[in-house]
Amino acid sequence: MYKIKLQQFEGPLDLLLFFIKRDELDIYDIPISKITKDFFEYMNMIKALDLEVAGDFILMATTLMQIKVRMLLPKEVDEKGEEIDPRADLIKALLEYKRYKEMTEELSFLESNQRKLSYRGNFEADYKVAPPEFGTLLKNVTLYDLMRAFKNALMDKPKEPVHEIKKIPVSIEDQINYIQSRIEKDKKMSFLVLVCEMGEKIRIVVTFIALLEMIKMGKLGLRESENFNDFVIYSLADGENL
């Protein structure tokens, strides 16, 4: 079992290249069963540590298993009648990856060289005094910059609370007429029954005021009901005296 430092590998391809180099394997003739075994050993180590990284490794593991299975099956042939090596795609991917990994070294070299020099700078302070003209502001703007600026603008906007006032069309006169019509039909009724169908609080309040108005005018009488929270309204118009 090899002790491998985890962050050394940038991904499954990187790990495979490591195995190939370590064991001096021929990249065009990879011993699939051996490399699959090594790969699984490594995967068991990282599974316990970092699930997100392990996901990419599991995908590669299944690819290796698939290649291993296809190697055992009778050889497939392409349209030209040539045998297809099940490892061909993997080899291609490995070589492509290796190509850019080499360029990574080049970039790293350029980076360390460039870090030794500092560009003439410190223009920030000047900017704060005199903002550049509109034309120069737009010079290096890309679509991505615009997207980011738009998102920031939307997020930075302070949220103002909005109070919406809804006008409910109700008046004391309307409610007097309404009570009148109800009481003419039923002679007497409970207050709760009168208001039970009213949705808005304000309508109940206005109805109550209308009720008091009618009592004052001598059109209605009040009487306690059996229920303490309610009272009974009765009509005085027809002289009935209950």
Binding site: L13, G55, E96, Y100, T104, L110, R115, K116, R120, G121
Partner: protein, 224 residues
């Protein structure tokens, strides 16, 4: 060529906050001195070389570097340690392996989509892409015409400045796959050569080591 242009060009480059291209220098000079001025872009380059020679002979601490399609004043590498001490942000942080790897692929394959990039790297690259976008080393250059119209990524001027490149063609060429396969221990060899190169730079030595002459790049004179 009149000597006066050297000073004009020096002033223009000095006053520019971003790297200023030879074409911009020519445009500025012609705007002031008239269209019949016989200054060309290659003259500007020649002036810059002359200026750099002057700075070197006077042992000045700065020079004009050719970067990001233009010219920019920079301090000499030998003072990097001291200047870097003050500008903390630059001196402490280097790009990670993953970031360099991603940049290398984008630089050579641009414009490239995220799925294409991930196919080469073999790993999910969301985080790295966002980090590079934040650092302004890459940018979204458009959308691919393929299914789903994925975003295309490319490198920026900041990328050129960060790696000290004049333009993207300045990047070292990736080797052909057949060539890579010929030498298994290529990376170790290369690192050894690079270390030699760095040490040589530091010591300012002019002698060429015989062990670096087997390198096909690097541009060292092969004196037998």
């Amino acid at each position: 060529m009149e000597k006066i242009y050297n000073s004009i060009i020096e002033a223009l480059i000095f006053a520019s906050d971003e790297s200023i291209s030879a074409a911009e220098v020519v445009k500025a000079v012609k705007e002031i001195d008239g269209e019949d001025t016989s200054l060309t872009a290659s003259d500007v380059e020649k002036c810059v070389d002359e200026l750099n020679e002057k700075y070197a002979s006077q042992e000045l601490s700065f020079f004009i570097t050719k970067v990001a399609n233009g010219f920019l004043f920079a301090t000499r590498p030998e003072f990097g340690k001291y200047v870097g001490f003050l500008s903390t942000e630059k001196s402490k942080r280097r790009l990670s392996q993953a970031a360099l790897e991603t940049l290398a692929i984008i630089a050579y394959k641009q414009p490239i989509t995220k799925p294409e990039l991930e196919a080469i790297r073999g790993v999910n690259s969301d985080y790295i892409l966002n980090m590079l976008l934040e650092k302004n080393l890459i940018t979204i250059t458009g959308r691919s015409e393929t299914i789903g119209r994925p975003l295309l990524y490319g490198t920026t001027e900041e990328f050129l400045k960060y790696f000290g490149l004049y333009n993207i063609a300045d990047l070292p060429k990736p080797r052909e796959i057949e060539e890579i396969m010929k030498d298994q221990d290529f990376i170790e060899q290369k690192q050894k050569i690079m270390m030699n190169a760095i040490e040589e730079n530091l010591e300012n030595s002019t002698s060429t080591e015989s062990d670096s002459s087997d390198s096909d790049e690097g541009g060292y004179d092969e004196i037998e």
